[in-house]
């Protein structure tokens, strides 16, 4: 009988706790909306370095100090999926990061708030932003859907010690593509067990190579054009260098989680990465002796990629004037300089770049220089689909399991089928 009481008492208690807890959840949610102190939800991804988080946290703190508005952080680990889930589900943040590559797709869906009226009201000047980074957030209707926070270009990272071991120095690095591939072959024979160049098999890292022969990766109607013979021809040398010569490897092929791990671990002479790797190398691989330089020319022309991320406002935000206050605050000269310096990223404002003396910084100068000629990471509304299909199949081409032509043909066909389905 005692046991009976105990069990039934337990069950009742459990039921009560459960009911209470569920009700509590609901209550907590609603109190968040109607509280006395205002809160903005800000969505972002963590980025590549702890410094970036530090810079961002300082931004948030400064904003709360200046305005009294609290910040609720929403971190995206899988941005494309989670932001979409949030937009569909109506749980998206007030202000969030938008990568230039997805701006077109988000803007045409009508989920971003145009900033023009706010900018006009506050007489917000835009001339200080680098034009390509500002234009990246201008929609096809001419309205402005975000303001750039920073940008990045790519560069060639080299390991000084490994070059020296092979009997070279940084000044021996060739300046043209054909010479560079030949140089990789020499390095391979001189440095057994070391990968001459480690790359990431990503569309964002290969797009500028693909377009170097004059073709665009999308057609006029925004569909995938990856199977264009000119694109195949442009990418073939890089793929052959992996599949045939093994002078180029993807970081996964040599068992690393990222190109930075391979480069930092001294397993590769070169790595083609973005400027974001500079701060990562400085903190995680302090002993490494490395430098950066511009990419070799492709078909005689300088080429690179430029990536930019901006702050955009949710069209469904409940507090648009505060959201604008936030965007204005974090893209201001003072805050931008704080953020760019702490996170060691390239600022979207020219005056900030000057104040930081980036052109004289030997690690950063190649990246700033590349901004003059780089290809923006923007290609219509279907870029995500095209990218996913490319990245699904391209590792097999690098491994030599299928020919590049077949890989790109398949990637194109399957992307275009999907694009048709979305119409």
């Amino acid at each position: 009988m005692k046991w009976n009481r105990k069990v039934s008492g337990f069950l009742l208690a459990v039921g009560a706790i459960a009911a209470f807890a569920l009700a509590g959840c609901g209550a907590k949610n609603s109190s968040n909306d109607g509280g006395s102190s205002k809160t903005l939800t800000i969505g972002f991804w963590k980025g590549d370095s702890p410094q970036e988080s530090k810079g961002r946290n300082t931004l948030f703190k400064n904003f709360t100090k200046a305005t009294g508005i609290k910040i609720k952080q929403k971190v995206y680990n899988d941005y494309n999926t989670q932001l979409m889930t949030d937009l569909v589900g109506g749980t998206a943040p007030d202000v969030f990061y938008v990568d230039s590559s997805v701006l077109a797709s988000l803007q045409t869906k009508g989920v971003l708030e145009p900033l023009n009226s706010y900018m006009k009201k506050d007489n917000f000047k835009t001339g200080d932003f680098y034009t390509p980074t500002y234009k990246a957030f201008t929609g096809n209707d001419g309205k402005q859907y975000g303001l750039p926070k920073d940008y990045s270009t790519m560069g060639l990272y080299y390991n000084n010690d490994l070059l020296k071991k092979a009997g070279y120095s940084a000044s021996d690095i060739p300046k043209t593509d054909t010479e560079f591939f030949a140089f990789l072959k020499k390095l391979k024979t001189k440095l057994p067990g070391i990968t001459p160049l480690t790359i990431s098999p990503l569309l964002a890292r290969q797009m500028f190579i693909m377009q170097s022969t004059g073709a665009k990766i999308i057609t006029k109607t925004g569909k995938s054009n990856l199977d264009d013979p000119r694109i195949i021809k442009a990418l073939q040398p890089l793929v052959d260098a992996d599949a045939k010569d093994k002078t180029v490897r993807t970081f996964k092929e040599i068992g690393f989680g990222s190109a930075m791990d391979a480069f930092g671990g001294g397993k590769t002479v070169f790595s083609d990465e973005g400027a974001w790797q500079v701060s990562g190398l400085k903190t995680n691989f302090k002993k490494l002796n490395w430098g950066t330089t511009e990419f070799p020319t492709i078909n005689g022309k300088k080429a690179n990629m430029i990536f930019t991320v901006g702050w955009s406002m949710n069209a469904d935000s409940k507090d648009k004037s505060d959201s604008w206050k936030f965007i204005k605050f974090v893209t201001s000269k003072k805050q931008s300089q704080q953020y760019s310096t702490t996170a060691s990223v390239l600022p979207s404002r020219k005056s900030v770049a000057k104040a930081m003396g980036l052109n004289d910084d030997k690690d950063m100068a190649p990246f700033v220089e590349a901004a003059n000629y780089a290809t923006p990471w923007i290609a219509g509304v279907n870029l995500d689909t095209i990218q996913v299909r490319y990245e699904n199949i391209i590792p097999s081409a690098f491994q030599g399991k299928i020919s590049l032509k077949d890989a790109l043909t398949q990637a194109t066909e399957s992307a275009n089928k999907d694009i048709d389905k979305q119409k």
Binding site: C25, N29, D86, V88, D261
Partner: protein, 276 residues
């Protein structure tokens, strides 16, 4: 002759079981030991299983660098405990009603329950997502708990149990003036404790180990469950196996402790298969 043959069979049995036990334990052992080693020793080909550099550094790193980990543990525990409690309550009540109470539509309801056991979760994912959007419970614990507050297989199991339950006990209690609810909680539930423990354990494991639904329904990092947190931890840390293995161990160990404590019920609980 006969005994010699028996001895051989027995030896073969031991050898087989030992080999399979090693196959089962080996990955865990590797993962467990790796969680104490520095990265450089984990990825060195031919490195020995044990190392002199073993320490708690990886665990320390996780709890300091990823301040969300304790949060995720609490979230998972909360969801699993509340979810399990609701399941035990509702499944037992539903099973009892289907077995003992007379009400119109009982047969139909029982048939519906039987069919629902077969419905795969994939077909429910999208509509449930939209329904929860309409209720405004996406990105909250409710999104994980409410749709799973009952489980058809265990409603069926409880019904099967209550149908064999002697009626006399309830009848005498009824004469003592107890109502149905009273009878259920005071007389019936205590007698069903092993069935309840069984479903409790499985339901708890289901909540604790669920990956797909948290992935879809939860987008705020502070509301992640441990499984989702573990996966996001992996995407952020690439292949830094030392940290990832330590994180994996944090998710595994609580369940193993629970298992050691409740071992008896686990084994009897496995009889559902035989009864069906």
């Amino acid at each position: 002759m006969q005994t010699k043959k028996k001895r051989i069979t027995r030896t073969v049995a031991y050898v087989l079981l030992t080999i399979y036990s090693i196959i089962t334990i080996y990955p865990f052992l590797w993962a467990f030991l790796a969680s104490f080693k520095p990265y450089s020793e984990i990825v060195r080909i031919g490195a020995p299983l044990f190392s002199s550099n073993m320490s708690l550094t990886n665990y320390q790193y996780i709890f300091t660098q990823d301040p969300m980990f304790p949060h995720w543990i609490v979230n998972s525990l909360f969801i699993a405990i509340v979810g399990t409690a609701l399941n035990i309550l509702f499944n037992s009540m539903g099973g009892y009603a289907l077995a003992r109470l007379s009400f119109p539509g009982r047969r139909t309801l029982f048939m519906v329950v039987l069919v629902c056991i077969m419905v795969p979760s994939q077909i429910l994912l999208i509509p449930n997502y939209l329904i929860m959007k309409a209720f405004g419970i996406l990105d909250s614990y409710n999104a994980l708990i409410l749709p799973s507050a009952i489980n058809f297989a265990y409603i069926f199991m409880m019904r099967q149990f209550f149908i064999t339950f002697p009626k006399e006990l309830e009848e005498s209690a009824q004469l003592d003036g107890l109502g149905r609810m009273g009878i259920f909680f005071r007389i019936v539930v205590p007698m069903a404790k092993s069935s309840i423990a069984t479903q409790g354990i499985f339901v708890f494991m289901g909540f604790w180990n669920d990956f797909m639904r948290p992935l879809l329904y939860i987008t705020s990092e502070n509301k992640y469950t441990l499984t989702l947190g573990l996966q996001s931890f992996q995407t952020q840390h690439g292949m830094q196996w030392n940290y990832i293995m330590a994180a994996a161990m944090i998710t595994i160990l609580p369940i193993i402790f629970l298992y050691i404590i409740l071992n008896k019920y686990f084994m009897t609980g496995m009889r559902i298969g035989g009864e069906k």
